[in-house]
Amino acid sequence: MDLVLVAVIALGAIGLVSSTVLYVCSKKFAVKEDARIGEVAELLPQANCGGCGFAGCAGLADALVKGADAGSIEGLFCPVGGQEVMGKVADLLGMAVVNTEPMVAVVRCNGTCANRPRIAEYSGLRTCAAMHACGAGETACGYGCLGCGDCVAACQFGAISVNPETGIAEVDEDKCTSCGACVKACPRGIIELRKKGPKGRRIYVSCVNRDKGPVAMKACKAACIGCGKCQKECQFDAITVANNVAYIDPAKCRLCRKCEKACPTHAIVSVNFPAPKPATQPAASVGAANVEPVNEGEAKQ
């Protein structure tokens, strides 16, 4: 009986002392956190994808609150939540909504099986990074999509997949949140975040081959050969040709599509435009909700 009593009293005393110490510590060393950080974080999608440039949603929330205190939340954007979430966050923080154009990941490669013949067989580890380190891959193009799907593995939203027919990664633009994980995962820097464009309409050079024209053409029928015809055609100075490859600046491009018609190798691709009138061209895949950014049909016409 005595023993039990001693034990109860001893444990009780230890408990009392510990709780006092814990209470004092919790008050004395309390970290004051702005309550708004938690509130903002709750509004964010909690995907923790890092697309905003911070380690996770909490990081962005912290930066947003600090930015609001400093007077501006410009440059801070959650690509996953998009305009809707950012509007709510701005309301909460009492800031003006910053308009940011929606972006989408674009795979810049036309090298389908038909365009880009295989010259070798790769039997090593099937990741793009390993294949890239081994050499040019199974085709003669040392710049094009390797099709092993490192970007697919990197995407948290299931927005990118490798089309088994073309062997090239394709982005589902409805699912793409433009977090940029695929851009970082691609060892060849093929994927680019571009403005989604009005009604999803956009034009881009679907090739990053920096070889000289004849070499690029030998490796892939739909390679950009850096001929500069598109540059001459463009009235808005939107196109630059550097290192034997053209680039369309989305900020200057007015979507006139003249460059697309001028391109001799059909390396320039446009998506989501309405079908051309039957008299001129047979329809490429157009108008559908999920237009593939790289489409063999378009490239080959």
């Binding site: 010259i119 090593g124 580890l125 390993a130 081994c134 040019a136 891959g137 003669a140 070499v215």
Partner: protein, 451 residues
């Protein structure tokens, strides 16, 4: 006393397949067009010093060293520079090259083309600095495959002191016989080359490590070094990867090289390939820069595999044609042997300073078996010559746990492929490790750059 030495841990013994052991070396005919990649060595690429239309002779410098760790490149043919362009090299990518159209065979004056043996004794004027300078100027790089500029190895950092030079005549890689043929045909020159290397490194011990599957070479070289008591021929047990620097140092002088960034000279050894010793001899004694080498062209399905004295820049296609042409069907073409060689995607890749072999493997031999799950047999651990845990490194690399693999010394991996060779589940162990290693090396470089 007569225990045959080898390195202490790990190692395998793949089928040797030395098809061309007794095939005498013949000089390969001149190519029609020679291609000289500017990156034939470890370090900065060479910088071209010729332009389109220039006439060059055999032995003319066409590109100078592009930095401290770099080497100049010499034309192996006489003719006209047609263009400075890009072409696919052994990396699989298009890299800058100088292309020369061959016309005649006119040599640069000053190159001694006689067979007369020049001994070190006959040239008392040679100083260590002078030898290093000649080696540097002649563009000599490691001829065993990696291609590290030789003169850099001869100038160890001040913290390390060289005690001996070890000649790597192991040739543990299956199929390759170019070093063996070189020893059989130029033993005297190799010994003089070793003496020059010893003089340049200011050491008085020299070893020649040869595996016991080359008894004739051991007998011949033992005979040749009798006159010089400083040099010892060390017969070694056949074991792959004995030709790795660290394994060879362990086998020959029983010292273990610590983990990177330590190099063999930190334990007192300078390791040079037997081909390099020959190139050093030619550079110093014959004033002949490095522009030709012994190369084995081999493969079970080749009609006449052989050993060739090849002018660098010769496309591999021409060598394969000399051996009866590419066998029918799909083949795997390797620059180097089947263990360490680099698979190529083009037969137009030229022979470079480090191309010791052109190996053609048939589709059925080359094809990998599908990978099964790891059965935890730890065979990879027991064969790893660096004492690593390949299964762990491979898995952690695949999961991109870079801190973990760095802590597990992934940078010590010499990429010999013993783990993958021995794996009963055919797992792509080395593929994963190699990727992880390159990633970790990048992380370490970035960290050092920040400091």
């Amino acid at each position: 006393m007569n225990i045959i030495r080898t390195f202490r841990i790990g190692g395998i013994h793949p089928e040797e397949n030395k098809l061309t052991h007794e095939v005498e070396t013949v000089a390969a005919p001149l190519p029609k067009q020679a291609i000289f990649p500017l990156s034939q060595h470890i370090g900065a690429p060479a910088k071209p010093v010729v332009k389109k239309g220039d006439r060059v002779k055999v032995g003319t410098m066409i590109a100078e060293a592009g930095g401290f760790v770099s080497a100049p490149i010499f034309s192996s043919v006489s003719g006209t520079v047609v263009k400075i362009d890009a072409a696919v090299d052994a990396t699989g990518y298009r890299t800058p090259v100088i292309i020369v159209n061959v016309e005649g065979d006119e040599w640069e004056e000053g190159i001694d083309r006689s067979d007369k043996l020049e001994t070190v004794e006959a040239h008392p004027e040679l100083t260590p600095e002078g030898i290093v300078e000649s080696v540097k100027a002649a563009g000599v790089t490691g001829m065993g495959g990696a291609g590290f500029p030789t003169f850099v190895k001869l100038c160890p950092p001040p913290t390390a002191k060289a005690e001996c030079v070890i000649i790597n005549a192991v040739e543990c890689e299956p199929y390759i016989t170019s070093d063996y043929r070189l020893m059989m045909e130029h033993a005297d020159e190799i010994v003089v080359g070793l003496q020059l290397l010893m003089k340049a490194a200011k050491v008085d011990r020299g070893y020649i490590g040869i595996e016991v599957n080359k008894p004739k070479a051991i007998a011949l070289l033992t005979e040749k070094v009798k006159a010089d008591p400083r040099i010892e021929v060390v017969p070694l047990k056949q074991r792959y990867p004995q030709g790795g620097e660290k394994q060879l140092v362990d086998a020959v002088i029983r010292r273990q090289v610590p983990a990177p960034p330590a190099i063999p000279v930190n334990v007192g050894a300078i390791v040079q390939n037997v081909g390099t010793a020959f190139a050093v001899y030619q550079a110093v004694m014959k004033h002949k820069p490095l522009f030709e080498r012994y190369t084995t062209v081999t493969g079970k399905r080749l009609a006449h595999p052989g050993n060739f004295l090849v002018r660098m820049g010769t496309p591999m296609r021409e060598l394969i044609d000399l051996c009866g042409g590419m066998p029918e069907g799909d083949n795997k073409l390797l620059a180097g042997g089947p263990m360490m060689g680099k698979a190529l995607t083009s037969v137009d890749v030229p022979v470079c300073k480090g191309t010791n072999s052109v190996t053609v493997i048939s589709d059925s031999e080359a094809r990998r078996k599908p990978a099964d799950p790891c059965i935890r047999c730890a065979k990879c651990v027991s064969v790893c010559p660096m004492g690593l845990e390949p299964y762990l490194l491979a898995t952690a690399s695949a999961k991109q746990m870079w801190d973990k693999v760095e802590a597990e010394c992934i940078t010590s991996c010499i990429e010999c492929g013993s783990c993958q060779y021995t794996c009963p589940s055919h797992r792509p162990i080395l593929d994963n490790i190699r990727f992880g290693k390159s990633k970790v090396m990048g992380i370490i470089r970035a960290r050092n750059a920040k400091k």
